[in-house]
């Protein structure tokens, strides 16, 4: 599904503050895999995700998605495969727009946005039904600006928005980092359900080792721009949580 080959990413190349974020990294993620990435700050996890989404371009190396070379493809074009949830709950939604308008844009992620009014009664009903599945009582607030909601609510809606249109890949960049434990649990459970329901290929970055242990069917650890540990689904299942904690000592 996603193949990264020999990726390097250097920030501020040839300057005093040069940083090598990714070092000759190769990684293949198969369809339906739910990959969890752990690693300390500055290990290159987020840079890796940004290179996949197109928010950052690699210094060299190639990336293919479903066999298409996307190395030079800008972020907005890669969105035809990829839906994202950001670390900052504010980044995934447009705060001044109503919930329904946010969902309308999400529903057109892979399509053109024409000069017709798409927010009609049937669309509103569809969105309300989807939002009701969250059980947060947000289905009656669809005309409200999304910026008036809490971080957890916005993050949950961003997740749902990700599957409003055809999606192959879901990128979760520390989606629960800014949330309280209860909201974080809801987000992680919702994500898991959606990934299974829509048979998505997903990548989760998290600092929460409990989640890293609980979710996903493949686990890697990154350190200083390289993959230091890699576990397939069986090895991951066999890994005791205490051993995972030991990775960081």
């Amino acid at each position: 599904m996603i193949a990264l080959s020999n990726i390097n990413k250097v920030f501020n190349k040839d300057k005093d503050n040069e940083v090598v974020a990714i070092k000759s990294l190769s990684l293949t993620i198969n369809e339906g895999e739910y990959l969890t990435i752990v690693g300390s700050n500055g290990s290159g996890k987020s840079t890796l995700l940004n290179i996949i989404s197109g928010a950052e371009m690699p210094t060299n190396g190639t990336i293919t998605i479903e066999g298409t070379d996307v190395t030079k493809m800008p972020e907005y074009k890669r969105s035809k495969w990829i839906a994202r949830v950001f670390q900052n709950p504010l980044s995934g939604t447009a705060p001044d727009l109503s919930i329904i308008d946010n969902f309308r844009l999400a529903a057109l992620r892979t399509q053109s946005r024409g000069l017709t009014i798409g927010v009609n009664a049937s669309f509103k009903k569809k969105v309300k039904d989807r939002i009701a599945t969250l059980g947060m009582g947000l289905e009656n607030k669809t005309e409200q600006p999304i910026g008036t909601l809490s971080g957890g609510q916005r993050q949950a809606l961003t997740l749902l928005m990700g599957v409003m249109d055809e999606t192959k890949i879901l990128l979760l960049d520390e989606p629960t980092a800014a949330l309280d434990p209860r909201s974080a649990d809801i987000i992680m459970k919702t994500a898991d359900v959606l990934i299974k329901e829509h048979n998505l290929t997903a990548i989760l970055i998290t600092h929460n080792l409990k989640y890293a242990h609980q979710y996903g069917n493949r686990l890697i650890q990154m350190s200083e721009g390289v993959i230091t540990k890699s576990l397939d689904s069986q090895q991951k299942l066999a890994l005791p949580l205490t051993d995972l904690f030991a990775w960081f000592i």
Partner: protein, 289 residues
């Protein structure tokens, strides 16, 4: 009375420019000052076309395209060359001064004894009222079209672009393209104001656009105050508030002039008035706190 009707008329004629500023400032959060140039460009195009006996209604699309090209240029300089929006606007505005002057051929052209958009309907048989009706009619059509546009799928994408660019990029929206189109629409509305004003005052002057962006900013600031105060969510009403803001602005200037202030001081008065609108809420907020 006549005096205030004139202010009302100018307010309505300038309201499409204010709508343009509303689009750039409030929807795209871009400070665009191409306005001074594209406003004059609209008036220049009008002054060149109308003496040829061209139907003034046919001049509308040409004016809109001229303004749109100016705005798109600012957008391209800003997004493709990664130049600050303010500077991009200044560059295009400055370049437009020479273009306007060479198109016009001299510093001003009178538009007397030719058919203008105001020469067609005379239901009131009184020039002031007939002009007001025509201008109101046109502005109503423009607001309706703009309100419709902003409610379409494309319009939602436009509004989101200025609101959260990380979100729009992740949702497959080309932010650069959106900004270029937005600036084009805004400046075609601005050029349309030039078109209306040139026909209303019966001349086009190369300097008529100097400082006009301040009028637009002031009008939009007044309208934002009204929108916040009344909590207006409907986009149609919001656009209407911009027109009202523009009329209020012209009324205040009219009152100032009627107090006997030297007309040469008008730009100074305008600047001070806008400064007051911007700073008053902060002072009031501090007093309340």
């Amino acid at each position: 009375m006549e005096f205030y009707l004139t202010a009302l008329m100018i307010g309505i004629c300038l309201s499409t420019m204010s709508l343009g500023i509303f689009i750039t400032m409030k929807i795209f959060k871009i400070p665009d000052i191409t306005t001074d140039g594209s406003y004059t460009l609209g008036a220049v195009v009008t002054a060149l076309l109308l003496p040829w006996q061209l139907n003034p209604f046919l001049a509308i699309p040409i004016t809109l395209i001229a303004g749109g090209v100016a705005g798109a240029l600012t957008g391209i300089v800003h997004t493709k060359l990664k130049i600050d929006a303010l500077l991009a606007g200044i560059l295009v505005m400055t370049a437009l001064y020479s273009i306007n002057l060479s198109l016009l051929g001299r510093s001003n052209i009178p538009l007397i004894n030719i058919k203008t958009i105001f020469s067609y309907f005379h239901p009131f048989n009184k020039e002031v009222y007939d002009g007001l009706m025509m201008a109101t009619l046109i502005v109503t059509i423009i607001i309706s079209l703009l309100a419709y546009l902003l409610k379409t799928d494309f319009g939602i994408a436009m509004r989101a672009t200025g609101n959260s660019d990380s979100m729009t990029r992740a949702l497959g929206i080309n932010n650069d393209k959106m900004k270029i189109i937005g600036l084009a629409i805004a400046n075609s509305l601005t050029a349309f104001s030039g078109y209306l004003v040139a026909q209303y005052q019966n001349f086009t002057d190369i300097n008529m656009g100097i400082g006009i962006v301040i009028t637009g900013l002031g009008s939009v600031l007044i309208s934002s105050a009204i929108i916040n105060w009344l909590g207006v969510a409907n986009i149609w009403i919001q656009l209407l508030c911009v027109v009202i803001g523009c009329v209020i602005f012209q009324m205040v200037l009219a009152v100032t002039l009627s107090l006997g202030i030297d007309p040469n001081m008008l730009k100074l008065v305008t600047a001070i008035f806008v400064l007051l609108i911007v700073s008053l809420p902060k002072f009031l907020g501090r007093a309340a706190a």
